[in-house]
């Protein structure tokens, strides 16, 4: 698989480490009333869809940036690659 890195261009997927569902960007608030239940879901439950999947890839053997890759789990076809930082900011994370 080739991942079209937004800064570096197409890179071999083996330069990256796979870190799972991109919803992990949204870490729950540890002060929430139901923080324990939220952290259980965050830490352990996954949608695991057959089809398009937004996922985190860490460029460990490269520039060490985190990417959000949209990839079809049935065909491995990659349709979108973004910097995880941009996605997080757009979705309301402050840093």
């Amino acid at each position: 698989m080739l991942i079209d890195h937004p800064i570096l261009g197409p890179r071999d997927a083996s330069e990256f480490v796979y870190k799972g569902d991109a919803n992990l960007i949204h870490r729950p608030d540890w002060q929430a009333e139901d923080a324990a239940a939220q952290f259980f879901e965050y830490g352990y439950l996954r949608d695991n869809p057959a089809g398009p999947h937004r996922e985190l890839w860490f460029h460990e053997q490269g520039d060490r940036s985190w990417l959000v890759v949209t990839r079809d789990t049935r065909t491995h076809e990659i349709t979108k690659v973004e910097l995880a930082r941009d996605v997080a900011r757009r979705e309301g994370r402050s840093k």
């Binding site: 698989m1 071999d12 997927a13 083996s14 796979y18 870190k19 799972g20 569902d21 259980f40 879901e41 830490g43 352990y44 439950l45 996954r46 949608d47 695991n48 869809p49 057959a50 999947h53 996922e55 990839r71 789990t73 049935r74 065909t75 491995h76």
Partner: protein
Amino acid sequence: MRYSGFKVIREALHGHRGWGPAWRDAAPASDYDYVIIGGGGHGLATAYYLAKEFGESRIAVLEKGWIGGGNVGRNTTIIRSNYERDGNEPFYEFSLKLWEGLEQELNYNAMVSQRGILNLIHSDAQRDAFVRRGNAMRLHGADAELMSTEQILAKYPFLNVDNARFPIKGGLAQHRGGTVRHDAVAWGYARAADARGVDIIQNCEVTGFRMENGRCTGVETTRGTIGAKKVAACVAGSSSRLMEKAGMRLPIESHVLQAFVSEGLKPVLPGVITFGAGHFYCSQSDKGGLVFGGDIDGYNSYAQRGNLPVVEDVCEGGMAIFPMLGRARLLRMWGGVVDMSMDGSPIIDRTHIDGLYFNGGWCYGGFKATPASGFAYAHLLATDRPHEIATAYRFDRFQKGLMIDEKGMGNQPNLH
């Protein structure tokens, strides 16, 4: 029909016209006591033990394709009970004991071969870890023996013990481990279950669950609605897809695992060996092919095929201990979708929905578990209580911090 040596000779003299089909091609009835979803090894074993041990007779196994087309027909066929955690070892040792009596039990030649498995040691720290694991195994009544390099070379003279980077310093052997003909496990359980009245229904995909007053009372399928007092999911790599239809999210990611077989060779490899410094395991099939594999590809996948970097990684692992492998040509490679759980251990449990049960999370190691998984799942279905060897395989262990994490990797499925 009972199979026997006498029957084989008789049929040889009569042009093999007397062999009937091994199981009926059943059509679905309108309802059953138990509907088991998934005709892999675990589903078929569950049906067999339900019928045999718990005297239940109105049982159906629903399979979306053909039985044995999933992971039970794709794995590298290794059986062993060399686990360390208390939640695991009694379960896998129970399974190994069932393997030892399986062929007589099913009257079917599953080619159970206890040729021994050897985990190689490459460093002092690894020796300590393997000694600890061997002791844990023996405490649970399994066999384990620490082997010196000299003892290993007597059985495997071709091993590259002086590899500069990963020298072989010894190994942990389980002599009762080995291999089993994987397809024959599916067929043997199917035939034996069918003989006890189980309906095996192929080309029947479950597309939804019938819920009434919060209770699961049956399944929707491509061959119509089928009612059931109890519905038992058992679909390995498809677990999340199936349980999503009941509104459940699981502690599971589906990943692809590849396997490889070389051209047929004369007997060179008498047992199963595993590389301890990378991930590589290998045995030789009775046809002569070297059957081997390594790590999962490491990203969510339902594709049943993998990518080249893992092929390279697996072959490098093989070459490190076993340089003669480089002369053999690769005949076939394939992939299967495995249900990687968050702690690397399985789940056999009731769900929060009455009448709906779940078996899954077998990762890349559920073939060896087939008999015990079927037995324990049948026990749970029939009695609503977990079997004593499977009490730890609960859904709520992730909430309660009771993970069974053999490798101590945490909630990162691609590291287990």
